[in-house]
Amino acid sequence: MELLQGTLDLLILRTLIFGAQHGQGIARAIRETSEEELLVEHGALYPALQRLEERGWISAKWGVSSNNRKARFYTLTAAGRKQLVKETNKWERLTGAIARILGAEGEKS
């Protein structure tokens, strides 16, 4: 399933709430938590990460992974947290509206 650009940002921010993570880890987390529904092209993740980093919502640092590999770890910033709340609200409003429309149609039929 293809993702809109804005939703990818939302997913990344949400994933990072649980702690710092590197790019591959984020991709894995999204796949596993969505129960294999959302398969992000890993290459597409990086421009999103770059954008989020430029906007100051996440910060990055090189570190060492659990099996001793060097990787670049991303952390959510305070501004990022605020942005996550905003984006989550927007998403919920959007999906709520769509659900209502779909629900209304369902009633008719």
């Binding site: 991709a27 092209e41 890993h42 290459g43």
Partner: protein
């Protein structure tokens, strides 16, 4: 908003680390290492594309591209030094010449008045359109009306002429200006030494104080610091020096002579030797004024028109209605540059044409080179280079060439500046220094950009239309280009030739006129003849004039003849008035008089006018003028027996016309 720009190596490392982590994870799930690696890459997607996108996400991409193009362009120029040298020299010539002319235009036309608030300075002219007269001069009461009108800060009439300067180390004939005491207040200039005239001074005659120029101070007084208070004589009248004007100061005159005044004397124009100040005697030839601050010239002119109307009613006898008396304000800038503007602009046009020819040449050269690089361009396009990028590269190369040429041109100009300034004609109204200032540099930059764009675009336009396959298939390295290119090159050659021809014809015509001028036969022998001009002093008080009567003057002239004949190296000496120097006088020195031949009836009312001059008998022999009929003068012809002799051609023509 960017903390640090991330290096692309950093990004590459991150991608590698990602792929490695993913490979290991898949291996843990049981895939072989090889399968795991492939799977990791597949789920990543296009690595190259990710890297490219990262690289391009930085905002300064155009700057990177620019630097790449510049480096590449410089390398190409270095590889063909012959081409580069020719192109750079051509552009240097074009841009150097154009900039040189522009710097003159900048000094002469754009900011001609180096006085504070020069736009408030005007010339005041009296017109009598009813009788067809313009700029007749103002009278002293009119001057005073203008000063009292409240339209102007200061109004100053200007008179002047040439005087004999004596009482200094070397007597000289210099140009002086007689002005109102507020003249320098009008212009807003202060002397570098001493003081100026007092603007509130209302002496009717000459104040016996003068200001001298920096040039005169250095030449005649050796830049003596004790100059103030020293006296000198102008036409035998004694004056005291009260100040020295700054170096580089020029008067806003129409001619070069009027701009290089050396002595200023202040006068109220109402005392001797001026005529009595009647309203109807318009003897003040020129007047300048400074309009009050805040008033525009048109506003001042309308207020002046109102004043003129009021004065006409008040003095109907002096201003008869049919003469239509008017006072006109002319911006001072106009009087100074008016007649030079057209020639300077034409010169700029001519030099611009030279630049254009240079551009066309270089464009041609670049086109030839572009066709040799056709293959390179085709390959790059085949590999996916955007056409815009190729065009921008060619444009950059063109601009680079043009910048190099312009720098060389400007460098030459700076070095040769002193020499070039010497060959400028004196009549240019250069009140300011001709210098290479910001305006001139900006002009040079603009010219550079335009020329660079022109010949950068020529090959670029072609690149866009390349048909890739046949070019790539061609085996040879270079070629002379497709038919379209050859046509464009031919068109350029034709244009260049046409433009050069125009310039050459114009230059040829000018040269021919000049040659004709040199070959005119003067009708006398000018070899070894020296013309010495001398002026007798005209003191302010006519009663003190020691050469006042004809008898006194005759004594002097005889003495001059006697002593002159004894000078070593002098074979013959003769005296005449100014009009006697053939071709050496101006229109106003002639003294035309009516010619009345006895026994001939004059046609119409007016006898024909002939130019006359007065000479001593040796004049004709000295100049080698041929005698057609009759005899020359001799010593015995004097006041008691007036004789007259005419220029043969003129008189014969008159006689034949009868």
């Amino acid at each position: 908003m960017f903390p640090h720009k991330r290096k692309s190596e950093d990004f590459t490392r991150e991608i590698e680390s990602h792929l490695q982590l993913e490979t290991e994870r898949l291996q843990e799930q049981g895939l072989s290492e090889r399968d795991a690696r492939f799977a990791a890459r597949r789920s990543f997607g296009n690595v190259m594309q990710a890297e490219e996108r990262f690289y391009e996400s930085s905002r300064w991409l155009w700057w990177d591209h620019l630097w790449q193009d510049v480096r590449y362009g410089l390398r190409m120029l270095r590889e063909s030094p012959g081409f580069t040298a020719i192109a750079v020299l051509t552009i240097a010539l074009g841009i150097g010449a154009t900039t040189a002319i522009f710097s003159i235009i900048d000094a002469a036309l754009l900011h001609p008045l180096p006085y504070p608030h020069g736009e408030q300075l005007v010339g005041v002219e009296d017109d009598l359109p009813g009788v067809g007269a313009q700029d007749v001069g103002i009278s002293v009461p009119e001057w005073q009306d203008l000063q009292r009108s409240g339209i102007f800060e200061y109004v100053s009439p200007i008179g002047g002429g040439d005087v004999n300067l004596t009482g200094v180390s070397q007597p000289a004939r210099i140009r002086f200006l007689s002005v109102a005491p507020n003249y320098f207040a009008v212009l807003g200039v202060k002397p570098q030494l001493g003081r100026g005239f007092n603007p509130e001074d209302h002496t009717p005659g000459f104040t016996l104080e003068v200001l001298i120029s920096d040039g005169l101070w250095k030449r005649a007084f050796g830049a003596d610091p004790g100059i103030l208070g020293k006296s000198l004589r102008l036409d035998n009248d004694l004056y005291r020096v009260i100040g020295v004007m700054p170096a580089g100061y020029h008067d806003p005159g129409r001619t070069a002579q009027d701009r290089n005044i050396e002595i200023w004397a202040a006068s109220g124009f109402a005392g001797a030797p001026a005529p009595p100040p009647l309203r109807s005697s318009h003897f003040l030839p020129e007047t300048i004024a400074r309009i009050k601050a805040g008033l525009s010239i048109t506003a001042a002119q309308s207020r002046l028109d109102a004043l003129v109307a009021a004065l006409q009613k008040q003095f109907p006898a002096e201003y008869p209605l049919q003469s239509g008396w008017r006072i006109r304000l002319v911006p001072l800038k106009e009087t100074v540059v008016g007649n030079v503007r057209q020639s300077l602009l034409m010169l700029l046009g001519a030099v611009g044409l030279v630049l254009l020819i240079g551009c066309v040449s270089v464009a041609n050269l670049l086109l030839a080179r572009a066709s040799a690089r056709e293959r390179e361009m085709a390959i790059r396009q085949a590999l996916g280079a955007a056409r815009k990028r190729l065009i921008s590269q060619l444009l950059t190369e063109g601009l680079l060439l043009s910048l190099l040429g312009a720098s060389v041109g400007l460098a030459i100009l700076c070095c040769a500046k002193a020499f070039l300034l010497q060959i400028l004609p004196e009549s240019l109204p250069l009140l300011n220094e001709v210098s290479i200032n910001w305006a001139v540099l900006l002009f040079a930059l603009a010219a550079t950009l335009v020329t660079g764009t022109i010949f950068g675009l020529a090959p670029a336009l072609q690149t866009g239309r390349l048909n890739l396959i046949p070019i790539l298939k061609r085996q040879g390295r270079g070629s002379t280009g497709s038919g379209e290119q050859t046509r464009m090159r031919r068109a350029l050659v034709v244009t260049e030739f046409a433009l050069s021809l125009v310039l050459m014809i114009a230059a040829g015509l000018l040269l021919r006129s000049f040659a004709d001028l040199l070959n005119v036969r003067p009708g006398f022998k000018p070899q070894n003849v020296m013309a010495v001009r001398t002026w007798l002093p005209v003191p302010n008080d006519p009663t003190t004039d020691i050469y006042g009567t004809a008898a006194q003057e005759a004594l002097l002239l005889h003495e001059i003849l006697r002593r002159g004949a004894t000078l070593p190296g002098v074979k013959e000496i003769a005296i005449g008035d100014v009009a006697a120097i053939p071709l050496g006088h101006s229109r106003k020195d002639l003294n035309p008089g009516p010619l009345i031949l006895e026994g001939h009836e004059t046609e119409g009312e007016q006898p024909p006018l002939v130019d006359r001059s007065v000479v001593t008998p040796e004049y004709f022999h000295l100049l080698g003028m041929t005698l057609l009929r009759g005899r020359a003068f001799s010593e015995s012809d004097d006041d008691n027996q007036p004789r007259c002799r005419g220029n043969q051609r003129g008189l014969r023509a008159e006689a034949l016309a009868e």
